[in-house]
């Protein structure tokens, strides 16, 4: 029997079928996440108003930061969990589960406390104006109160994956999106609870999934389940998890900081609606980027294994295939944005003022999108062959290293358009670097033969 992930399969089966096998679950989960984000924005845009979208957009970095803290614990712990499970060390694995719960509780409570205490100041720093602050505050108060749920939900989802239940965690993600998709319109349009309704729907959706995860981990039949005594924090587990999780946490934080800077610039040069416009544009771009992200996750084991086994022709094949698919997806996004930007904007709002900012912005931001697919694949390639440093560097070039100077310089020259120009500039420059690094790596590996 050839198991999924076994070397024999990776080294011999058709690259195309392997890619489908690995990529599809990833793509589904990623698409579900971005659909959740998009539908929330759409409901709020139509149900509450354009300013509400701006208020929502202000909160994005805050929500990202919260998820980042959850990741700090979750990613590291699930890596550790995989390690222990690989050695059939079930007692330690159980302790990891308990520790994750407690750590998430502690971080969650601390985060909730600090954020609620300084909520207004934080939101204003993030770019809220007197117009958008009430919306942002209403939304964020409820979300922050439910923050503990969010942390634990993401943390347990990660562990579910690590304990060999990727399907279950995928279902959890999809079902939470569906629940939110049903409750949000009910609360916003039916009960007229406004932006609070959206926040409530999210928290309820995550809570119900958390309950489901709890019931799974309480089942003593499973290898890994909640146990008395596993809740005492063990220093080794905590420090090991956090040192692994530190890197993704910092990457997330860097990403959030960039969004804050963007929003601050937009407020200065374009006002509240510009912030909302970026929120919309970001969601649209993310939809396609997340799909590509799922593809690159699927490519990882195939490229990594075959590179290690020196079957470079297969590495080539999977790379070409993934780049092709990624570029196709991104090109669809590009075409839709360039040809039908008005339709895209109208999906989120009916207010002309907002649409008129979104349309030109969307057109500019998505200009080099087709090549970003390549950039993402190249970055993941380096990660899959064990060169994490280069992979991180490449990711940073697109999200921070080129973006930051552009954001500091261009808006002062071009105003709001300067903010929009920064993104495709960053896309282009980072792709050039990616191409250079990829080609040099290929030369090195083939010459070695």
């Amino acid at each position: 029997m050839v198991q999924k992930g076994s070397p024999i399969a990776l080294g011999n089966e058709s690259v195309w079928s392997l890619l489908l096998q690995y990529a599809i679950p990833s793509v589904i989960a990623m698409t579900a996440m971005s659909l959740y984000n998009i539908t929330d924005s759409i409901f709020i845009g139509h149900g509450v108003g354009a300013l509400a979208i701006s208020g929502l957009a202000i909160t994005f970095p805050l929500m990202n930061l919260s998820a980042a803290f959850g990741t700090l614990v979750g990613v590291g712990a699930s890596a550790l969990m995989s390690l222990r499970l690989g050695q059939k060390d079930y007692s330690t694995a159980n302790k990891i589960l308990g520790n994750v719960l407690v750590l998430n509780l502690i971080f969650g409570l601390a985060y909730t406390f600090v954020v609620l205490l300084f909520l207004d100041q934080i939101l204003i720093f993030f770019g809220a104006s007197s117009e958008t602050l009430p919306y942002a505050r209403d939304f964020m108060t409820i979300i922050t109160l439910g923050n503990i749920v969010t942390h634990m939900y993401f943390g347990l989802n990660a562990l579910m994956r690590a304990t060999g239940n990727p399907k279950r965690s995928m279902y959890a993600t999809i079902i939470s999106v569906i629940i939110n998709g049903m409750l949000a319109p009910l609360f916003i349009f039916g009960f007229k609870w406004g932006i609070r309704g959206a926040a409530l729907a999210t928290v309820i959706a995550q809570t119900s999934m958390l309950i489901w995860q709890f019931s799974y981990f309480r089942n003593k039949q499973n290898y890994i389940h909640f146990q008395k005594g596993s809740f005492r924090l063990k220093r080794k587990i905590v420090t090991d998890s956090m040192s692994i999780g530190l890197a993704p946490f910092l990457m997330n934080t860097a990403g959030s900081i960039i969004v804050i800077i963007i929003n601050q610039n937009l407020i200065k040069h374009g006002g509240d609606l510009a912030v909302g416009a970026f929120g919309v544009i970001n969601r649209v771009a993310a939809l396609f980027a997340m799909v590509v992200f799922g593809l690159t996750q699927g490519m990882q084991p195939i490229a990594g294994y075959n590179f290690g086994a020196k079957q470079f022709d297969r590495v080539n094949t999977v790379m070409k295939l993934t780049v092709l698919l990624a570029t196709a997806v991104m090109t669809v996004g590009f075409l839709i944005s360039e040809i039908f930007p008005h339709a895209v904007a109208s999906a989120f709002t009916t207010e002309e003022d907002l649409i008129n900012i979104v349309v030109p912005g969307l057109r500019i931001v998505m200009i080099f999108f087709p090549i970003v697919g390549f950039q993402m694949v190249a970055s993941t390639f380096f990660q899959s062959i064990g060169m994490a440093g280069k992979a991180i560097f490449m990711s940073l070039t697109r999200q921070v290293l080129f973006l930051l100077p552009c954001l500091l310089i261009l808006p002062s020259i071009f105003g709001i358009k300067g903010v929009w120009y920064s993104m495709p500039s960053s896309d282009l420059l980072s792709s050039i670097i990616a191409a250079y690094l990829l080609v040099s790596q290929y030369r090195k590996s083939y010459v070695k033969q």
Binding site: R161, Y305, T380, A388
Partner: protein, 207 residues
Amino acid sequence: MNKDYIITIGRQLGSGGRIIGEKVAAQLGIPFYDKELIQIAAQESGLGKEYFEQADEKKSYSIFGGLFGLRGTIAEEPFSTYYLNNETLFKIQSDVIRKLAEKGSSLFVGRCADYVLSGYPRCLNVFIFADMKDRIKRVADLQKITAEKAVDYIEKNDKKRAGYYNYFSNKVWGVAESYHLCINSSVLGIDETIDLIRLFASKRFEL
């Protein structure tokens, strides 16, 4: 009842651990696995030898090493999807250790074999260390370097090995509780240390 047994040897660099392990295995007539594990792991998995060699007994995690950091806010795939990182290589290697242990009595040097085989009933975990001056002499002779360089090399190596062991196993490297028997090879010398280990093993396993 299965009469097979396992001996694992953890060792400080320059303590003579490898030689001792080799001779104990030869005298007991059981297979000896040190760096040979790498060759076998490479063969079984199809991955190049150099990947195992790079990962060998070096902790993979500085703060920014071994990263899963590229994936946004969504938590991540289990290890099985990363073939060329140290965790997966370690898993492949430890699967090899387990397989070899099933085949019959064996002796393993390093690579957290004691942790990997902790479920194994008839297992003897030995840790071999030595006085610093003996370690320096051995390392300087073997590597053809000066005594000062040897001290440096030894300290770095101890850190690496401890990092590797502490990360992958659940125990602490070089600490008495992690093993059944800790011996300072400087006290009696290599040959008598071998005899002592054999004595302990024969009593433990009723050979």
